[in-house]
């Protein structure tokens, strides 16, 4: 167990830092810190959900950002008609994402490898163009959401930036814990076994399709929840949120942080967004430096940032 210590400590440290950000931002009068870390945590939830299917299940979805969009539109569209109740919006975000995952997954999961990547991309692009074509909801430009989801008074007030921040924090911790439980459960072992050797899984008696589809739906619903948070955070939704480059960024974050480790995608997201902020302050060609950095990490550090940290741990007895 001692070999796990460094990574456990790092996870605890990161989460503690996240929890302290509103205090620091308040004391030093730097509200932009709150914004950055809100965004980091929300995108982290999406990356953690992608890692569940990609890192553990070998299902490389190139359309995972679609669920961010579905979650955000689940606030935006009801809000457009004057329905702000979280009791409507939140279940809608989760159910719509789960349904999209179920329908598309049923088709995608019949393919493997490159075909799977392409077909997930195709479905996400369909969603993208569907959102663009609906002029009523702003089409290309998207729409402003007049008010955040309304929760019964006395619980939380999402209009408060700090309270929204802690809701996001709680969801992230919950998502991490859920994924941790799932990947170590019987279900999780089936998912990982199917990634490793699907033919063998079937030969020993697992109908792997059902398990993989269920996993795909869980990840979609979790990302839809992140989309619900993102819509509330941005007070805005647009098709741009689910452009294919967004899905690509999510894959980058997962690979950068370390596939197949529960917390890795959070590290990847932190590194991605912080680097983006810092480098773009230096030069307009920041993407060039950023790309080179990504290539170096992928080539030289198998297992991403988490894999790098694991190397500093004492070897297993």
């Amino acid at each position: 167990m001692s070999a796990m210590n460094l990574r456990r400590w790092l996870t605890a440290l990161c989460l503690a830092l996240f929890a302290l950000v509103p205090v620091v931002a308040g004391v030093f009068g730097q509200p932009f810190l709150l914004d950055i870390f809100d965004r980091i945590m929300i995108i982290s939830i999406a990356a953690v959900s992608l890692n569940l299917i990609m890192g553990y299940g070998g299902m490389i979805s190139f359309g995972h950002a679609a669920y961010l969009g579905i979650g955000a539109y689940s606030i935006g569209i009801p809000a457009y008609y004057g329905y702000y109740d979280a009791a409507l919006q939140l279940p809608l975000a989760i159910a719509a994402s789960a349904l999209f995952a179920l329908v598309t997954g049923y088709i995608c999961l019949r393919t493997r490898g490159v075909y799977f990547i392409m077909i997930t991309l195709a479905f996400a692009q369909m969603a993208y163009f569907a959102f663009i074509s609906v002029e009523e909801y702003g089409g290309d430009d998207g729409l402003v959401i007049e008010a955040r989801s309304r929760v019964p008074a006395g619980v939380v007030d999402l209009e408060s930036n700090v309270q929204l921040y802690y809701v996001v924090f709680a969801v992230l911790v919950g998502a991490l814990y859920l994924v941790h439980r799932i990947v170590n459960s019987r279900f999780g072992l089936v998912i990982q076994g199917a990634k490793d050797n699907d033919e063998r899984m079937r030969a020993i008696g697992f109908n792997t399709f059902r398990y993989r589809l269920t996993c795909y739906v869980i990840a979609g619903a979790m990302c839809g929840l992140a989309g619900w948070l993102l819509g509330n955070f941005n007070n805005f939704f647009s098709p741009e949120m689910i452009a294919w480059t967004r899905s690509g960024e999510l894959i980058f974050m997962v690979v950068l942080g370390g596939m197949g480790s529960v917390f890795g995608p959070v590290l990847g997201t932190v590194a991605f967004i912080v680097l983006e902020e810092v480098l773009s302050g230096f030069t307009i060609y920041w993407e060039l430096i950023f790309g080179a950095f990504l290539i170096l990490v992928v080539v030289f550090v198998r297992g991403g940032l988490m894999g790098m940290i694991a190397k500093f741990e004492r070897p297993r007895p």
Partner: protein
């Protein structure tokens, strides 16, 4: 005489112009060890793939334990008690040895839509898996990552996983493939110890193993059963000697 445990009738499978299985009839009785031998390309592995459900036959029927399983998927056949080992080692290389066998047991321990309790601390899976590893002689290697095992050990794990599904019929595809002398002696002894506890259909090139272990031998040539009988009859059969065994004498 009661119906055989496995009853194959008129099994046919072709790939383009190549007929890999050509109207094959085969019966395996409960309790026996039935060897299938034949030269390379005779269609032995294709036969096993059709029996275990990885390949669908073009024609013919497969009855197992009294039911027609011709249309069933591989997992459905496994749940009915048909297990297969692979000629080219097929294990979960990223998992530990114990995980590999525990997964096979889990597959037959109800559904796996259990998302919360840690499976690696589940004594209902780990204990029987450990017992099987002891049986096949991998007891001391339980926590090793399977991909790091030596070749011979991986072959043993291959059998251990099949046993983890508690099969009524074990389909063994060249269990001794690529094994050195000592490993292959140990495997032979182990398969001998399985005799009687488990019905086996054994595809094997090691003639010494075949004639030691088998109660009956089927000789396959060009996708057809050329002869079937007790080892002594097969050895004496002139057609078999010509088609197959004669080639082996010089080896």
């Amino acid at each position: 005489m009661s119906a055989p445990l496995l009853d194959v009738k008129g099994l046919t499978k072709s790939f383009g112009g190549l007929v890999a299985t050509d109207g094959l009839d085969l019966g395996v009785s409960a309790g026996e060890t039935h060897a299938v031998i034949g030269p390379n390309g005779a269609g032995k592995t294709t036969l096993l793939a059709q029996l275990a459900g990885q390949l669908r036959p073009d024609a013919g029927t497969i009855h197992f334990d009294g039911a027609d399983i011709t249309g069933l998927s591989a997992p459905a056949r496994s749940l009915r008690g048909l297990a297969r080992s692979f000629q080219i080692t097929s294990i979960f290389r990223d998992f530990t040895v114990l995980d590999n066998v525990a997964l096979a047991i889990q597959a037959h321990a109800g559904h796996s839509f259990r998302l919360w309790q840690p499976a690696r601390r589940d004594a209902a899976l780990r204990d029987p898996a450990g017992a099987i590893l002891e049986r096949v002689g991998l007891g001391g290697r339980a926590e090793v990552v399977a991909g790091n095992l030596a070749h011979g050990e991986q072959r043993q794990l291959e059998i251990a996983m099949a046993l983890g599904t508690r099969p009524k019929l074990l389909l063994l595809d060249e269990p001794m493939a690529g094994m050195g002398g000592e490993d292959s002696e140990r495997m032979k002894a182990f398969l001998g110890s399985l005799k009687g506890t488990c019905t086996m259909l054994l595809v094997e090139h090691d003639m010494d193993a075949v004639f030691t272990l088998a109660d009956r031998v089927t000789v396959m040539v060009y996708g057809r059963a050329l002869a079937c009988g007790a080892p002594a009859e097969i050895r004496a059969d002139e057609r078999v000697r010509q088609a197959y065994l004669g080639d082996e004498e010089g080896v």
